[in-house]
């Protein structure tokens, strides 16, 4: 197997992000026509990846790698085999058409530039995901697709439904992402490598590992949420709130297949076990059936397509889960075919919506004369979706039936039923709006501009061409992909026209008969499913809301119970815990420090200590708060003097300034908060506070004694003594440590200073004006509106 290094892969991986940067500017200059220009970027990427086809078809791989965080084994490494290549071609190829389509679909939208930016960013993330070799890089790209998907679903952010759908998709796929992260780290620790290509070469290491079950479940957690498997399927139909280009691209052709990609990628090392071959086909089959049945229920074109996408993803998981050569070949073919026809049909649904003003299938009809190109594209897509000759969908269905023949009869039955229902939906989308008498639509329908119909037409032609030349498609693209998924060479012998009457052909005929029968009875079937759903009355979508509202209420209750808003309580708890932490370890282990031998203090040292003690006595005896604050300053200055006497001028300097400022700020805060001039604590409270204060002070004193009695480790001192002058050119070691040796820490600290300053400004400004709820409540939870105000200090 040859492996070539191609450095242009870095550029290809970065190009969509760079294009995303310039997209808003370009949109401002060119308007909607910017789509045609921006589409050149994915098109160039497509051509570059296409140049790898001969290499990969010959069994080779292309790689590129650079160090990222070498200390942690994180590299920015890419690795392209048959599986990655087909995905990369689909992402960049369909991406080109989608960018053009978006320019036509959202023409005149004021935020089109931002939309281009988001969709290009997504393209970069998705491309990186499928070509990443390093597991950490793969995970980062995975999360980036979730985030960009969130931005795209919520693109129309003024509508509550969009916002909810975006948040839902983010929570579901983000939660799965966390599971995947844990799974990826376990894989890395078991195999001892963070490179996917080396993991794939590890053979049975993962399968034989004790951690196999947790690894599998965590990876499935990521894949099932991303690829909308039952019971996590609900976010995908809701994601149809996004503009149609997004639905066509992310939520049918590419992103939702990321989970399937991951399963296919790991099939050689995680697959072929009892657990794998039980869980995947089971969930896949349930998803397939649930998806198609729910699709029948819908009348909105996009929702019908969305549910069949769920179903198709189920079918892909089912096929991958059998770990058999033929079924995997079927999965690969079906994945390819599905990306083409579903992308095209979504774009068709978008054109209808755009030109006729509605996408409700019951309010559409007779568009065939008005929109002939769209009709043709829709028909071609539907034929492929239905698995009829002479489209690539037909070849895919034949092969997958053949692959399933060897497995359980139930899986085969599920596949036949699912495919029959997909035929129903495919033709419902492609025929109902176009045939029959013309219906009055909200907008006067006519054919859209070329930017709109280019995409579905090209995808339809590719689906047709790849089927007519199925031998070439198989040997160049899909054979190498199937081999990468199977983990060994796959014998591929694809025919468009069956050469003899085989079992798959008979199953196909059965599928068509069932499908046509169901299509004729579609209205009755729809009522039936609707009534069944009414009886059940609960679905995971409602469940999601319930879970979220429970979490929100729990956190509101928890916040109210521990953040009561009284400063005294906070201070008491904090200081009592500090005292406990300091004293408890010494008390439990019985290692109290001994009093060290101290030299007799000179008269001025004794004098300074006396001043400090007098200051403290004054604090306790003070009658008004202002006197107490100033007396505390006396004690602070005395401590600063002590620092000075014992040779720490920097510390002393700082202590002087901090004391001055804290007296000023405490005084100001006191007047600001309208505190009473005198302290009115009852004596029981005074006793408690005094005890805590003395315990805390004693704790600090004892711990300091204990620390100074340890043997002093001079390593750091020697290092800084030796190097601060020679390396960092500074004689003041303290300052050199702050700004140079430990500069990064200081950078973090000053950021904290700044954030604290902003927070204090906000609190001071808010406390005078209005009460804001402690926990901002989401729109769903309107029940309890009586949350307590932000009276932090009062």
């Amino acid at each position: 197997m040859t492996s070539e290094t191609h450095d242009w892969i870095f550029l290809a991986a970065a190009a969509p992000f760079l294009a995303a940067l310039v997209a808003p500017v370009l949109h401002r200059l060119l308007g909607a026509r910017a789509g045609w220009v921006l589409a050149l970027v994915p098109f160039a990427i497509f051509l570059q990846f296409a140049s790898l086809v001969p290499l990969v078809a010959a069994g080779g791989t292309a790689t590129a790698a650079a160090d990222w965080l070498p200390a942690y084994g994180v590299r920015l490494s890419y690795f392209i085999d048959g599986l990655s290549l087909v995905f990369a071609l689909l992402i960049s190829g369909i991406g080109t058409l989608i960018v053009v389509y978006a320019g036509g679909y959202l023409a005149g939208h004021p935020q089109l530039g931002r939309f281009f930016s988001f969709i290009l960013m997504f393209m970069g993330a998705m491309l990186g995901l499928v070509i990443a070799d390093n597991l950490i890089a793969l995970f980062i790209y995975w999360e980036l697709t979730s985030i960009t998907s969130f931005l795209l679903i919520g693109f129309d952010h003024s509508r509550a439904a969009s916002r909810r759908a975006a948040l839902q998709a983010l929570l579901v796929t983000g939660g799965g992402g966390l599971a995947l992260m844990a799974g990826v780290l376990l894989i890395a620790s078991v195999t001892g490598t963070k490179e996917m290509s080396e993991v794939l070469a590890s053979g049975d290491v993962l399968r034989n590992s004790l951690l196999y079950v947790p690894i599998l479940l965590l990876v499935l957690g990521g894949a099932f949420t991303k690829s909308a498997q039952f019971p996590f399927h609900f976010w995908l139909p809701n994601a149809m709130e996004a503009p149609t280009p997004v639905s066509a691209y992310l939520h049918s052709a590419t992103m939702v297949k990321a989970g399937v990609y991951l399963l296919m990628r790991l099939q050689p090392v995680l697959g072929d076990t009892v657990l794998w071959m039980t869980i995947l086909p089971l969930f896949g089959a349930v998803t397939l059936l649930v998806g198609t049945l729910l699709a029948v229920r819908q009348t909105d074109l996009k929702l019908m397509l969305a549910y069949t996408t769920v179903a198709s993803l189920g079918l892909l998981v089912l096929l991958t889960g059998t770990s058999s050569e033929k079924a995997i070949e079927g999965a690969v073919l079906y994945l390819f075919a599905h990306s083409l026809f579903k992308g095209a049909l979504f774009m068709v649904a978008g054109i209808i919506d755009h030109e006729a003003g509605t996408r409700d299938v019951t309010k559409l009809g007779g568009l065939r004369k008005l929109m002939p190109i769209t009709f043709a594209a829709a028909l071609v897509g539907a034929i492929s979706m239905a698995g009829l000759p002479v489209m690539i969908g037909f070849v895919a269905k034949e092969v997958l039936y053949e692959g399933l023949l060897g497995s359980s009869i139930w899986l085969l039955a599920a596949a036949v039923a699912g495919n029959a229902l997909m035929l129903v939906i495919g033709f419902a989308v492609a025929l109902k709006p176009f045939l029959g008498p013309e219906v009055h639509t909200p907008k006067h329908a006519h054919e859209g501009p070329p930017a709109l119909w280019l995409g579905p037409v090209v995808l339809g032609l590719v689906g047709l061409a790849s089927a007519l030349a199925v031998g070439t498609t198989g040997s160049l693209l899909l054979g190498p992909m199937a081999a990468a998924v199977f983990g060994g060479p796959v014998e591929s012998d694809l025919h468009l026209i069956p050469t003899y009457i085989s079992a798959p052909l008979l199953l196909s005929i059965l599928t068509v008969i069932l499908g046509v029968g169901a299509f004729l009875a579609l209205d009755r079937l729809r009522d039936l499913v609707a009534r069944a759903l009414k009886v059940i009355g609960w679905g995971p979508d409602r469940g999601f809301d319930q879970v979220v509202s429970v979490i929100v209420r729990f956190s509101a209750v928890l916040t109210r119970s521990i953040q009561g808003g009284r400063l005294e309580v906070y201070m008491t708890v904090t200081l009592a815990l500090v005292a406990l932490t300091l004293l408890l370890p010494m008390g439990l282990t019985g290692t109290w420090p001994a009093m060290p031998a101290m030299p007799e203090p000179t008269f001025y040292e004794a004098g300074v200590i006396l001043i400090a003690l007098l200051g403290l006595a004054a604090v306790v005896a003070a009658r008004t708060r202002l006197t107490a604050i100033v007396s505390l300053g006396i004690q602070g200055f005395a401590v600063a003097l002590i620092f000075m006497l014992f040779g720490a001028p920097d510390l002393s300097f700082t202590q002087f300034m901090v004391e001055t400022l804290s007296v000023v700020i405490l005084t100001l805060a006191m007047t600001r908060l309208n505190l009473a001039e005198r302290d009115h604590r009852p004596s029981s409270q005074r006793l408690l506070d005094g005890t805590i204060a003395i315990t805390c002070g004693a704790g600090f004193g004892l711990i300091l004694l204990a620390v100074t009695q340890q043997a002093f480790d001079r390593r750091l001192t020697d290092f800084f003594d030796a190097y601060s002058r020679t390396i960092a050119h500074g004689r003041n070691v303290v300052n050199v440590i702050i700004v140079d040796f430990r500069g990064l820490d200081t950078l973090g600290e000053i950021a904290v200073v700044m954030i604290t300053g902003l927070a204090i400004l906000a609190v001071v400004r808010l406390s005078g004006r209005r009460r804001v709820p402690v926990v901002p409540e989401p729109e769903q939870v309107v029940a309890s509106r009586h949350s307590r105000g932000a009276e932090t200090v009062r």
């Binding site: 400022l661 100001l668 702050i738």
Partner: protein, 139 residues
């Protein structure tokens, strides 16, 4: 607190403190001092000015919001770290140049830029807090 003497002397004290704070900042690399302590001195100076002559006067005198000074400081500090990237050395590696200004050699460095950033953040943030609390008397 606003006695005539205080109000008369405060501007002088404040300007002296600001000057001194810059002196402390710049000598910090070799002698006691540095950005943090310098920033504290500068903030105290402005706080005293505010106590004596009112917050509005201070705000007029410094022209920008003190929080912007802090923000600029944070950017300067981050910039001091990032400058090492074009030089091809790891993040925050100290870089030194010794140009001759007005006939005498000056040592300029990224740690110094960083320290100026620290100075601005501390002075800006503390001044904002102090001014914000002092403003209460006004409204």
């Amino acid at each position: 607190m606003r006695t005539l003497i205080f109000r008369t002397v405060a501007p002088y004290i404040a300007s002296l403190m600001l000057l001194f704070s810059i002196f402390v900042l710049l000598r910090g690399h070799n002698d006691p001092g540095g950005g943090f302590i310098g920033g504290l001195i500068g903030a105290s100076g402005l706080a005293i000015y505010g106590l004596a002559c009112g917050v509005a006067t201070v705000r007029r005198a410094i022209r920008v919001h003190p929080m912007s000074i802090a923000g600029i400081g944070l950017i300067l500090a981050a910039l001091a770290g990032i400058l090492s990237l074009p030089a091809g050395v790891p993040f925050m590696t100290g870089l030194w140049v010794y140009p001759t200004i007005l006939g005498s050699e000056a040592a300029l460095s990224t740690p110094m830029l960083f320290d100026i950033g620290v100075y601005c953040v501390v002075m800006g943030a503390i001044t904002s807090i102090a001014l914000c609390l002092e403003e209460y008397d006004g409204d």
